[in-house]
């Protein structure tokens, strides 16, 4: 899986990394049980401090995406986290903001839903390939 890190972005690097790993899992580019590079390897290859990678791995571990094995390092969990009440609350909150922002910019409801639907399809499509 290819990671693209933008050093000038307002999104911090650890967050870019976290999001891309989650997208990678959804698209099937990272498989269940797959070992991730060590923090040293990945930090070195991106050209960032290894603590940044460590931070991402720890967040993903707490979210239930990774397990960190002492010998093998970070691995994608076999059973991914489920949408619990807390998650649904965050999802609604994020969408609330995104929908409002879109409405202000005159994106119609249908258009917004179509964008969502297309992205969802694309992810499923990738996953089946």
């Amino acid at each position: 899986m290819l990671l693209k890190i933008d050093f000038e972005s307002e999104t911090p690097i650890y967050e870019q990394l976290r999001r891309q790993i989650i997208i990678g899992i959804a698209k099937g580019e990272l498989e269940a049980g797959e070992e991730l590079p060590s923090v040293r390897q990945l930090g070195g290859d991106i050209g960032i401090n290894l603590h940044t990678v460590n931070k991402t791995y720890n967040i993903l571990k707490n979210e239930g995406y990774l397990i960190i094995d002492r010998r093998k390092g970070a691995m994608i969990k076999d059973n991914l986290p489920q949408a619990e009440e807390e998650y649904l609350r965050i999802l609604k909150e994020e969408l609330n903001y995104l929908i409002s922002d879109s409405k202000n910019r005159n994106i119609e409801k249908e258009e917004f839903i179509k964008i969502c639907s297309d992205i969802y399809d694309e992810i499923i499509d990738k996953n089946h390939k």
């Binding site: 899986m1 290819l2 990671l3 693209k4 890190i5 933008d6 050093f7 000038e8 990678g24 990272l30 070992e35 991730l36 590079p37 060590s38 923090v39 040293r40 390897q41 990945l42 930090g43 070195g44 290859d45 991106i46 050209g47 960032i48 401090n49 290894l50 990678v53």
Partner: protein
Amino acid sequence: MSENMITALFYGFTLLILLILQILTPRITRRNILFGVKIPEDKIETEEAKKIIKGFKRENLIIGIPALILNFILVYYIEHIYIFGISIFLYMGLLFSIYLRWNKKSKKLKEENGWGHLGKGVVVVDMKFSRDKEKIVTISKKWFLIPIGIIIISIILSLKMYPSLPDRVPTHWDWKGNIDGYMDKSMFVALMMPMTQALMTIVIYITYYFSMTAKQQINPRNPEDSLKRNIIFRKVWSIYLIVLLVLMEIFFTVLNMLVLGIIRYSVIIDILGGITFGFAIIGSVVLSVVVGQGGDRLKIKDNSEDLNAYDIDDDRLWKLGNTIYYNPDDASVFVEKRVGVGWTINAARPLGMAIMILPIIIIILTIIFVK
């Protein structure tokens, strides 16, 4: 031909290789680097960039060749080992100052044309490659068993022949094959060659380790092809290193047999030395030109091109005419060289700093002890 002439010719040849490598630099460096300065890849084809490359070549020829002849004459007439060493350093300094001048011009060109801000700069990293590169990019470590086996043979020969060595052991031969240097018999003299052989193995192994662990550098415009180039680049160089090491070990074992008196001097030894030396130089020049830095000059068809993607502009992290990498925020110790072919260290990491200072300490210690 006199001994002086041979020495001077050998010396002149060394300088000539330095000059050729310098002139080849723009051809073997990555295509988005103009004398250490990062520019958009397609801009290397512009008239301005071509003019800078041409000017650099011309200046090297105009200054480099007369300086070479001058040094050659100096070494021929003043026969002294120090002159030899000092003038090589001076010559390298001269070549580097030429490079620095054109590095400055390239910086100016980039600034004048606004090549620094063209679009979004990204770093692309392949997760699998990051994880598995130690397994997939170089040939197996097990190949080092061959040179180690040869060294063991050499050590056994030394230990076995030690009792029967004469009190004065021949250790130097002139170019006609006559002995012209002796050392008193000691364990040190007997094991001199095997120790040199072990040292060579360590040096080559470190370089091999560089090629295995160095940071991946992927062109964001076509990541997949760039990755392929990178793998070929590392694999080819690791094979070259192993072959070179085996040749050197065989040659030095033969030399050891000569010192130990097992064999007599013959032309075959010269031929073997010539093959080893030739492979080292011609092999590395050919590989550099054909493969280029990071596999950048390989003729592979590039597929997907994302023309909006650019490498991040990291010029400020490269010091001293963009030749020394200093980035405290980067976890990698080994990175691709900015100019030329091969790897260098991140001087901001303690291990990197140690590797950089070590040769200087060794040189100083050698000078103290030899005196």
